[in-house]
Amino acid sequence: MEIIGQIFLLIGSFSLMTAAVGLLRMPDVYNRVQTGTKASTLGAIMSFIGLAFMTYENWGEVNWVGRFLVLVIFILITNPVSSHVLMRAAYAMKIPLSKLTVVDKLKEDINNKVLEEPKDE
């Protein structure tokens, strides 16, 4: 039990560190948000599951599992949503995409009047 928890915790912290490296290395905002969100979500979930396993001795008396489960569910719902809102705001601010970008269908659709232009006040 304890060993499983420790492995999960290590994987989780390693994922968080990957997210941080991604934050530092990626060329533009959009790619940073991408790597940051994915890796940190999985990292946090893995770490919480690991910690929940590590406390197996007193599952009966103290509420470890329930609180860790609440945290995991909460992060699974909120983290992608907040990143999505943030990235949408970044696009509305017209922060330029990186030079490596190959295609931008959203721009094409705004130009073709399929979508309204995001207002930047």
Binding site: E2, Q6, L9, L10, G12, S13, F14, L16, M17, A19, A20, V21, L23, L24, V29, R32, V33, G36, S40, T41, G43, A44, S47, F48, L51, M54, T55, V62, N63, W64, R67, F68, V70, L71, F74, I75, T78, N79, V81, S82, S83, V85, L86, M87, R88, A89, A90, A92, M93, I95, P118, K119, D120, E121
Partner: protein, 86 residues
């Protein structure tokens, strides 16, 4: 054995916090700063979990839930603000 794993993971978490801080200070646009800050928040959530495990106090996790909720709201409010009006 158990303690070594905890120390390794705490080291990694601190490195993550540092990287988030660098992005927070450097980041050319406001969105970069918010992303760096968000990454720092999630790392601190895991930190709170580790601290709760080390001091054997499950009730610290309630604090983590509230902190996560506040960071979620904070990111949404900043995102709303930078695209004009709350």
């Amino acid at each position: 054995m158990g303690n070594i794993v905890i120390y390794i993971s705490i080291t990694m978490l601190i490195l993550t916090l540092l990287a988030g801080l660098i992005r927070f200070v450097k980041g050319p646009s406001i969105v970069d700063r918010v992303v760096g800050f968000d990454s720092m928040t999630i790392t601190s959530l895991v930190m709170i979990g580790v601290i709760a495990y080390l001091s054997n106090r499950a009730i610290y996790l309630d604090v983590a839930v509230v902190y996560g909720l506040l960071s979620f709201l904070g990111v949404i409010i900043v995102a709303k603000y930078i695209q004009g009006g709350l």
